[in-house]
Every structure is written in C-alpha cells, then in structure tokens.
Symmetry: D2
Subunit: 417 residues, 4 copies
C-alpha cells in the first residue's frame, strides 16, 4: 500500500477529519498535502454526500439530499514543481471501496447506492418521465454488485473516480463564472436550474479561514460539471490502470479527487446514476513539462484506459433519434437521441416485469455503453445504448417465446412531495 | 453463397440495372423481390453516389457531389406474411466489398473513400472548422484499409451497412414530412439546411411510373436521416453476425439496404465519414409476430451486434464539454461535447505532423469509439472519443520525448469554390 | 479479389484441374505458380479428402476414408527471390468456404464435416475411448455453424488454414525421413501407427512425371504432421489478418496451403476434429531477407494472429492431470493431461443428454481453448480446456437445479467393422 | 472486507501464527476454521517458502531453497454440511498481495519473485538448458509488475492462487501414494526426481500433534502436484471473479489455499515461474449437493474464470513440435512441443539483447498463453506460446529493420554449485 497521504476516518464527518478537503473549486485553497513527481500515494475519498444517503428502503434521503454540500473532495494535492503549461500525468494504480470495512452506515462500507433525483432537487437525464425520487441500494461481494431493489441482475463493478481534476487558475475560474452566469441568466428560475452559481452555503474550502474563506466561497465554482480541469467527468472507463494527463493551471497543479463509483453506465443517466461510494484510490503522479503546448492539450483531460475492465461479448442494443416524445423534430441533438435510446431500453425491460424506475436505475448503474453512432445525418442524430446480456439472471434477448416475467420484488423505494 | 435476389452489374449505372432500387422512402414503392421467412439471400449494394466519387487525387467530385441522388438503395424486399406490428428479424450473415472485383472505377472495387463535404453542399460535424471539400481514398487489402492521403495508419475494417430499414406506412411518412417541414420552417434558408424536404429531382422509386411515380416523388422522404424505420443509422457495430429487429409498418415490411461502409468511427463525423463502398450483403430474415407490442419496440431498431468486430486493447481518449469554441456555455449539449472531444483529438494529431483535415478524415473512417460519458452534470455534458493506438504505425501516446513527426505525404485532396 | 493464381473447379477432381497441386512434401516438386514479393493473390483449396466425405447421415465414408490421398495441397507457390535463410512473410488477407457456391456435394459448398476416425484408420486423441467411426455434418449460415448431428449449439467459425508451409530442402527431408523411420521402427505394427513413412500409392506431386515422379514419390514426406516448415500445424488462431513468418529452405520458398477449416478447437482432437472444408485463401507475401538468423527462427513458424477472432467472455473449464484412466501415474505428460481434461468435459456434457461421441465431435469443432496450465509440478502436468458457454442454446453451467436435458436428436452417424 | 478467518502476521513465521496451516495433504488434519455455506470470508496466505526467498540480487536463496517446507497452506477450512459426493462451490471474490503492507522482507509486501530452480533442487521445464539457479525480483505498482532483473517489460498482474483444493479421503490418499511410489520406483535416483514421496521432515499438519502427527506425516501427500482434489494446479485464469467447483472427499470438504501468484504464464515454466507472493484471498463458499454425480465431476476442479483478466489484442506466437533438440522424433508429445515452442521464444528474445535466462524468467512470469494447438497429427504434436506484444517497452515484432537492442541491465542473479 502506498503511503496514505489523505486519510479519512469512517466514524467522523468529512469536516471533522485530520485533513480537510473541499467541495468547491478555487485556486486559493491551499494544498492539503504535497507530493513529488514519481510518488505513489493513497487517498481516501468520502462518498459525495458525506453519508446523507442511507442503506435502507426509503427514498426520502434522495428526495431531500443536500445538494449544496457536494462533492466532498480529497485534496488539493500539490505536485512539487508542476507549473502552468505542464501536463500532470496521473496513474490510477488501484481504486476501490473503503478498505478493510465491509459493513457500516457509510456508502463504500460493503454497499453503495444509485438515486433518481426529483425534478426539484437535481433532476436527471429523464426527469420529465421520472419527476420523483427513487433509490436502489447495491451490495458488494468482491467485485460484484447486486441489489434487493433491482432483482435479476448482477454485474462486475467498473470502479472509477467520478471526479478528479486540477485546480483552475484565477482567470479560468473567472471564465467559468462568467459563462455559466450568462447561461443561467437566460432562464434564471428554471427547475432544474441551467447551471449552479457559486454558493457560500455549505462551502468547504480546506484550510481557508476568515476573510480568505469568505472571498473564495463567494466565487468558488461548484463541482457538478466537468470543465477544462477535468472535474466531474463521470467517465466510467477511468478504471484501475488508467493514465490521465491533466492540464496544470496553477503552481503545483493541486489535484483533487472524489465521487468514487463502484460501477456506472455511460452517461450516469439518473443524475446520481453510478453506484456511489466512498473508498480509496492509489495514484502515482509525474509531470510532462510543457505538455499542454507540446501535445495541444490546452483543456480537458486526455487519458489511456486500463486493460482490466469487465469483458462482455454479447450486447442488446437500442437506438434513438432526435425527435421528442411529443413528436417534435430537433436538429442533430445527440443528447435527445440518447434519451430516446434509453427510454426504448426502459420500455423493453418493463416487458419483462421491471418497473420503469427499476430499469432506469439499472441503466444508470450497470456497465452499459452509450455511443454517438451518427451525428451528421440531418436532422436526426442517432445514439445507441448497449446492455450486456450476461448481467441478467434470465434470457433478456427477444425470441418467439416472448419475454419471461421476473419477480420485481419489493421494487425501488419511492418518495415525492 | 445464398441466392442473389438483387443483383447489380458494376459496369452499369444504378438506373440501368435488371432490378431498379430506390433513393427515397415511400410505402407505394413495389417490392423488387419477395422472400419467405427463414430465407437467406444475397443483395448487391451500390455505393451511395452511384460512382460519382472517383479514385483520384482531386476533391472536386466531393465539392460538387450530387446530393439529390442519394442513397442508392437495394430493395424493397418484401417478406411474405410480415404484417404491421411484427418485428422483422434480420441477420447479417456476411457483408463486404464487391465480390470478385478487386479493381475498377467503382468504390467497392478494392477501394473506398471518405469525404469532408463543404458547408454549401452537405457540411458535416465540424463544418465550421472545415468549410471546404476534402477526400481520402482508402485501399483494401483483405480486411485492412490504408490511404495514400492519410499516411501512417492502417486498420481492420469494421464492415457494416450504413443504411437499412423497413418502409414507412402512409401515416408514418406523413408524420415525418410534417415534423421535418416544421423544423425547416424555423430557418428555411440555412446553409447547411436543417433538414431535407421531399425532392422529385433525381428521385428513383423502383418500378413506379407515371402518375404514381409523380405522386410518390412529391412526398417520398429523403434517405439522409435515421428514423423510426431504422434507415441511415450509420451504426458501426452492425457488423457481420448482427441480428436486428425492425418494426414492420406495412404488409411485407419492405426492407431496403445500402450505403455499405468498409469502416467508420462512431458518428461518421465528416458527413461522409465512413469508408464508402458498394458491395454485397447476405441476410436471413424471419418474423417475430406481434413483436412490436410484445417487446415494446414501436420504433427504431434494436439489435445484437456480432462477435467478430476488430479487437483493440489500448486506446487514447479525448474528452469534451458543452462549451463552444467561442467560450459560450451551452446546457447539457452532448452533440457539442462530442464536437469538442473530436476537435481535441484533431489538435493532438496535428502535433505529430498531420494536417487537420487528415486527422478529421481519419476520425471519420477509423474504428474510433464515441461515448456519452456524462449527460447529467449541469451545465456540461461530457463526451469522449477513443482512438485505438494500434492503428498507427508510430507511437501516438504522449511521452517525455515529445511527438514524433510523420511525413504527411501528399496530403488530402482539397477543393473549394 | 486478388488475382486467382491457383484455381480449382468444384466439378472436377483434384487431379483433373488446370493446375495440379500435391499431397506430399518434396523439394523437387516444381512451383505451380510464381509470385513476386508484395503480391496479393487468391488460392483455391480443396477439402483434404477431395470429396470422399459426403453430406449424409452415414459414417461409412469416415470408416473407409482414403488416408493415403491426403492432404490435397494447393501450390507450390514460388516467391521470386526468396533464398534459404530468409523468412517468408505471409499475410492471410482473407479465407473462407468456396466462394459463390452455397450448396453442392463438396465440403466447403455451404457445409463441412467433422469426423471421429476409427482406430484402424487414423485413430484420434481419444481413440481408446472412441474406437469407431462417427461423423457430424455442419451447415454454414454466414459465419455461423450448426449441425443436425450435434443439436443445441451454434457458433461463429474461426476460419483458418489447417496446413500451410514452405518446401523442405533435400537435407531437411532426409532428416524427417530418418527420424520418423527410427520412431516407426520402435513399434512397426502399431495401430494406429507411430508415424507415416513415404507412400508412393496415391502420391500427387504437381507437374512431376516419369522417373522424377517415381524418385520423389519414394521419399516424399507425408503431410500429416507439422514440422520445421510449418505444415499441418492446425493452429486455430491463424485466422484472417494473421501474419506468419515461415523459414525458407529452398530457392523460391515454395509455399503450399490447404486443409481449410471453418472452425476448430485447440488440438483438433477427433483427428479430423475441425470442420473440414474446401474454399479460398487470399495471401500477400513478402521476404524478410536473412530473417532466420536475424530473428533466431531456424524452424517452425512464428506468427501474429489477426484481431477479428470470435469473442466470448464466459467460459466453462475442465482440468486434467497426467494420470491414466487406469490410475497409472505418468511423469509430466501434458498430452495425457489434456486427454483427461477433454474426457472430463465429455463426461460433463453427457449429463445434459449428449451422447459421448456428440460431445467429442463438439470439442473438436467448436472454438474451445486448450491450455498447458501447469507443466512443472512433478509428477502431474495440469492441462485445461475452456468451452465458451454462449455457443450452447441452453444454460450449460452447473447449478442447483441440475442439468437440463436436451434432445440429442438423430445422433452422430456411426460406423464400425 | 469479509471476516478474516485465517489471519497471518507478517512479522512471524508460518509456524508461529495464531492458527497453524499445513504443508501436506492429509484427511486427519483438523479444520483450522469452520464456515457455513453462503459465507464470505478472508484468508491470509503466506508465500510458499515462508520468506526464505529475499528481495536482493543474489540467487543463492533459490539455489538452496528448502523444498521440503512447501507449500505453506492456509486451512483447512471446513464447510458445514459438506459431504463426500458434493461439489464445493468456491467464488474468488478478491485476491491480492498482503493488504496495507507495501514494503518489507516478505514476498507480497510490494514485491514478488520468480525463480529458475537448479536441476538438483527442483529443476524446471527447461532444466536441461538451464541447470543453474536464477532469480528475478518484481516490484508491484498497483496492478503492474516490473523487474530490475528483466528490463524492458511491464505488465498487468493476472493475480490468482496457484494452489487451492479440498482434502483427500483416506482412500484417495492411498491411491496417490501407491501410484506415485510406483512411478518413483521406475527410476528412484533420478535428478530431478520423478515424484516426491511423503516426507516427515519439515511437515506441518495444523493442530495435529504427537502420534497422530507422526502417523499422518509418514503418509501425508506432498503438495507439489495437482491431483483429483485440485491442489497445485497453477491455472493462471483462476482470477478474481472465478467460480470453482471442487469435489468433496471428506466431511466438511476441508478447503485449503496458498501459493498466491501476482502473475504467471501458462505452464509456470521455470518451476517457480509465477511471481510468487503472500497476500489475501476473499472467498465465498456454497454446496452443490450430490454434484459430483449429477455433473459427472468425480475428480479435478471445473471452473468458470472471471471477466476482468488483463486484455491484450496483439500477440507474437511461437510454435513447437515433438522433436527433441537432439533431433529425436517423439510420438505426439505435447509437453515436448511446448518446450520447443518456449525455447523458440527464448531464442527470439535473445536477438533483442536479453540473456536467455531473462527471457525464460519472463515467459514464466508474464501472462503468456500456452495452447495445445494440434494433438493428433502423428507423430508431431504442435504447441504454441503467445506473447502479448504490449508488455514490451519496445517494438518486439519482426521487421525489415531487424531487432532493436535493449540494455539487459544488471541481468538476472545467478547461482550454481
């Protein structure tokens, strides 16, 4: 085990730890720890809601999830000598649930959860069809996940950090705030909102205090979106063995990481669509001096996935185009096309006895592939979603006998106002 | 070899063949041939422009490509007993370039092409960055493609039909025309257009003649977009061994197929991004009686890909978010995110000596993966594009030594007005 | 299609063709055709028994198969400039059944066969347990094989040439004859024999005639075994896209090829365990000057398999050790270990309702993996055999419900004296 | 983390632990722990020599390795209710090096080793060519292994237990001893020996003491070979996610496990060819009542490998036949064929600058595939060995430029008498 440079005690809140992380992006947050190029080290990560979501059969916690508190990130980790213009090479040596803890109240202690967030508290990819709150709790057995709320499936986790990135520079932060404010201004009262402005309420900024804290909290960026620094990319393929190249925007790079996922489908479609958990991540860092210019990587991460992702060789695929459910034709809208493909998959699975929300939760959590199949054939983009058939305990392929009927069990916990 | 039910003679134009196909969708086009459930049969397919694009070092043919003439489809093929509400099971037994013809003037005779279409004649995914016409000719050696216009790469073809589908019903056709006309009306003079209205000019409608032809041509749908009937889905994974389930909208189903691709990346991003060719496809059909309702497949194809796609185990990936090149923040726009990811890949490849258009042509033609990685993290969708590193003759990964410099050769032919 | 340099007419016997191949190895057999380095070309191949095995429900043809007539090889193909000491680079561009012929009396015309050869006419890997003759006929649909004699399975072919190699030099031929004669001499009357001595009866030696024919026929090597020149290696992974490096022993190299297989498991265990067929192979050749010494490849082929083999992700595996069925302990005998692993797999499959010979035929023909798992743990070698579960129409994995019972159908045709 | 039922303290010898394991097979060894069907639990495993092999640059420890002390096994673990005739279902939930210990003197603390054993102390697959002792120490970084003794390669570990199995019955033990004694009697003074008879010296038999110990030690079977109970199978594919079905021969089954490998090639060819280490394994057990008869599994394990083994898509393969290096023809000897294939691979790698022993060590430790390609083509079996090219830092494929020359570095430590 590499040196543990950012420990978390599972019995304490995120704000009561030996080292304090952060839940906003800001250049002034001091490094919690400093490492050297070539170092390997372990980082503990808290699940994104710091324990607010429980291992039970109620979705009230999802309904009222405290969105201003996320994401509880570990870091910043400064890398000695990293300078703006460099690329920070980050190798994911290992990543997993909370080590040596197989049961307990904290996601990552042998279990995790997937949530469908209600329209008025986060929403999700298909929030028009699923406006209420639902939850599925997943149990881990080794690398396999199963859920009492979504029967009939089990799958190998594709474990990855949902969120990792370097700190923005002051200028870059300004750019973010300006452009996101402009978007919000086009429809400021929208539910769910178009974007999330800086929010001092519940801000955690590492060791910043007093006026410095107040100044930074007023302008620090929310962690929800992925941006030029990587961030909340939710790329399911950033698994063990992956090498990532992050742009460096400030001295030291100031890498932060969190939002670990035991598994996730492409898109993380239920908003909190992954199987959320806390855990650990082992990283090794190095510097590619001047790499941003040398390789033309001025923003966003580039990466090389590892070679131990779970393998499946039979898939059932659904396609969608950019026509709304109401029949309105949109122009080359791949986002809509993927929504339609996912809705087709949900319709299909309900024929086997799943409730629609069970199917939706499953698509968020299982290692489905979502592809931009056709993006130029005006006016319809074509997106496709691929389900590995081997994750089902029954034959999920179409046949002359018609769909078998599963027992949907207790169903997914539901809550609404 | 299964019975050849739809032959094409490579020495004759598409309109001079023994059986005449079509290049519009219309319910009244009579079947060119009728098969029985359980039948296997071979169909010849003409490349989508019927030979207008040549194996040379000029892009004038792309610049002036006759878009009203596409796609030259083989069919309709009626399946005895198929009724609206059924699912038509279509197995792709085999698919490839023109059999027994390894050289000649027709794409599919040992070669194919990829085109970047100019903004005023089709455009493409990145038409703002690439407003002119470019072309790459690819040579086939067995299942491998190489190009004198894009040096330094060779890859195994992922052969598939770009376009296959059943005939729309009269009602469905009406729906298409209504909704697409409404979209066009929002910006009727846009270049490139938002959608393509019915166009009698150059229409080919099988054996229809006289008034029937005229009536159908006036309302028949263009073949560019994928729609409820499948159509121009450009799904690169519909390879040999794939089983597809198409909704049946009229008696007999009336399946048509064309637009074969020797290879393609997810998205077919250069508009004519695949390696276009004519060739053959061997199909087997069956009927899943009442399957549309039984399985909830009221529209769009569902499918199970084959298991012999080319395998790669190392990938170099690029990510993008939904911020425009001008810095404008868009709301969860996966289409834009994928554009940005592709532009990042192009920027990267130019550091190795490729011209931007060479990189763009390569991304269209090579078996790249395009994934909707994050679709819920407001306001930024995250899309990713994965390049298999093994297709490059050189080390394309980032390293301390910096990028090697390739010889870009003669470059990609270019044409503009 | 590359130029067809070695054509075969399916309506004529192997000996009545325009170009005459051969069925023995000898340096004096003149090239049937000469190609240049860099050339691509097509070669037709006849199934190894030249049509003696029929598409029917009798195994009499297997019982009396004319073993002195095999293998009907296409070639020799001389490569201009190839010299002893070079490596001949051979790319398999494509390989498949007889093109454009989907039915007919010749294996490769839409069908192929697997045979269990009787102990007194060839034998096989498990001839002690299976002393009689059995046959399974397999039908091809695209790349998929099924058999009326082995119900409940279908699989994607892993098409490859069972036999390809360069001509031996005079010295090398002498070495073969000497060492094999010495082995035969240790038990000259063994049934089946230890090895096959030169056999003028039924020898075919290309264009050799008269005294030259007689002299060569008296010493030409049989084609059954793989040797330093490659030969009958029966490596299932030499599929489309494979590059092979053969040692060159005489001027021109004199490459020959035949014994095409639609599919085969590792070991080709039933002797004629592959799905045997005639067909075509497209090759491209080049010369690696002096490569034998440069790369230390003085004998036997080295190769790089293609990347489009059928993919399976779930396997059921059986292990065996080097103890005979009678309980005798042998010393590190991987051959025996693999026999025991295969027998275990057969025992297992019979619990599902298969006759033992059906299971044996299946293991020969399906794309099973056979691995040398442990070769040093005295006194027991450990070999393992892996069956892809997806080739079965039913659930073939062990479970609490016990094995489902299939309908074994008509069974495999059987013949004995 | 599942409950730790068999702990090991890295600071203490195997014989000084809280629970004492064993290094011989005997039915009378009492269970160290008892679990229930359905239980998940963790077991610590000591590296097979209990720390005798050190992380240094000398091979003296290999030369004099105390072979009578192996293998230090954890267990027996009794499963409540398991009866002879049942199958014990064992799921490998997880397996890895010593958790939370990344450095230290014990293999598994961040490092492991591969040894070539001298002919007079164990020998190995190629002991005729490599009669002396050599060692390679491998360092772990996450799931990747590299070695200062074998430069130019790095690869993802394919972690697995080399040895796991149930206890033999009294009868079965008698069978082993009888048949192995008979083999030894054919050449009792052979070096290395044909098999290993019971050896009271250094025997460890769990909690047995006094007369019971003496009686058992006199007849307990050595752990070197795999046998009917599984045992030292060294199957590299028994990785995380694998389900194994072991025959039960005595009440409780009495499962034992040890000899963990960070990686291994097929065959474990250098005798101690894997990367040896201590560590942990998480198992879940269940009982398939009467499964031995129901599924025809009277001996040897059957298993279903997991789906997260490292993936490689390009391989360089070598073939061998059953002719000795001296030119003697053997009859269908797959063991010899695999030796010849491995020797060909070694010859090839030396052309790039590796010392032969470095190449040999690499083949033992890296995830190479060894296949029984042809086992029926008298008199030559054909075996093949496949090297994943991506594990090399340089281009290891043959080309016109000839092999690049690596720096072999300090070489592999060597020792001889």
């Amino acid at each position: 085990m590499p040196d543990l440079v950012f420990p978390l005690d599972s019995t304490k809140k995120f704000t009561e730890q030996q080292l304090l992380g952060h839940n906003r992006w800001h250049h002034a947050i001091p490094p919690a720890v400093t490492v050297k190029p070539g170092d390997s080290f372990r980082v503990h990560c808290r699940e994104w809601f710091d324990g607010a979501i429980e291992n039970n059969d109620s979705a009230e916690d999802i309904l009222n999830a405290p969105l201003t508190t996320v994401h509880t990130l570990s870091g910043p980790i400064a890398v000695e000598g990293a300078k703006p213009g460099d690329l920070l090479i980050v190798d994911i040596l290992d990543v997993g649930p909370i080590p040596q803890e197989d049961s307990g109240p904290l996601a990552g202690q042998g279990w995790g959860y997937t949530g469908i967030f209600p329209t008025d508290n986060g929403g999700g990819f298909l929030t028009e069809q699923f406006p209420d709150a639902y939850k599925a709790v997943w149990d881990f057995a080794g690398q396999t996940a199963t859920s009492r709320h979504v029967p009939g499936v089990s799958f190998t986790g594709i474990v990855h950090p949902g969120l990792m990135g370097t700190a923005p520079s002051k200028d870059l932060l300004g750019t973010w705030n300006t452009r996101e404010a402009a978007l919000i201004a086009t429809d400021p009262d929208r539910v769910p909102p178009l974007a999330l402005p800086p929010e001092p309420q519940d801000a955690i900024l590492g060791s910043l205090t007093g006026d410095e804290f107040a100044a930074a909290a007023a302008e620090a960026a929310r962690t929800a979106p992925p941006r030029e620094n990587g961030g909340n990319q939710d790329i399911k393929n950033m698994t063990k063995g992956t090498r990532i190249f992050y742009p460096v925007f400030i001295d030291g790079g100031n890498l932060s990481v969190g939002d670990l996922h035991f598994s996730q489908g492409d898109g993380e479609i239920t908003f909190c669509g992954a199987i959320e958990m806390g855990g650990f991540i082992d990283l090794r860092v190095d510097i590619l001096r001047g790499g941003m210019d040398t390789y033309g990587v001025s923003e966003n991460a580039i990466f090389m996935p590892g070679n131990t992702d779970p393998q499946y060789s039979q898939w059932l695929a659904f396609s969608g185009t950019s026509v709304t459910l109401d029949g309105e034709q949109r122009y080359l809208d791949s986002h809509l096309s993927y929504q339609r493909a996912c809705l087709h998959a949900i319709d299909y699975l309900t024929k086997f006895g799943y409730a629609p929300e069970q199917a939706y939760l499953l698509l968020g959590a299982a290692p489905i592939e979502g592809r931009l199949s056709g993006v130029v054939d005006i006016p319809n983009a074509c997106a496709t979603v691929y389900l590995p058939t081997a994750i089902f305990d029954f034959d999920v392929t179409p046949g002359h006998g018609g769909p078998v009927q599963i027992d949907p069990g207790m169903g997914a916990p539901h809550a609404s106002r």
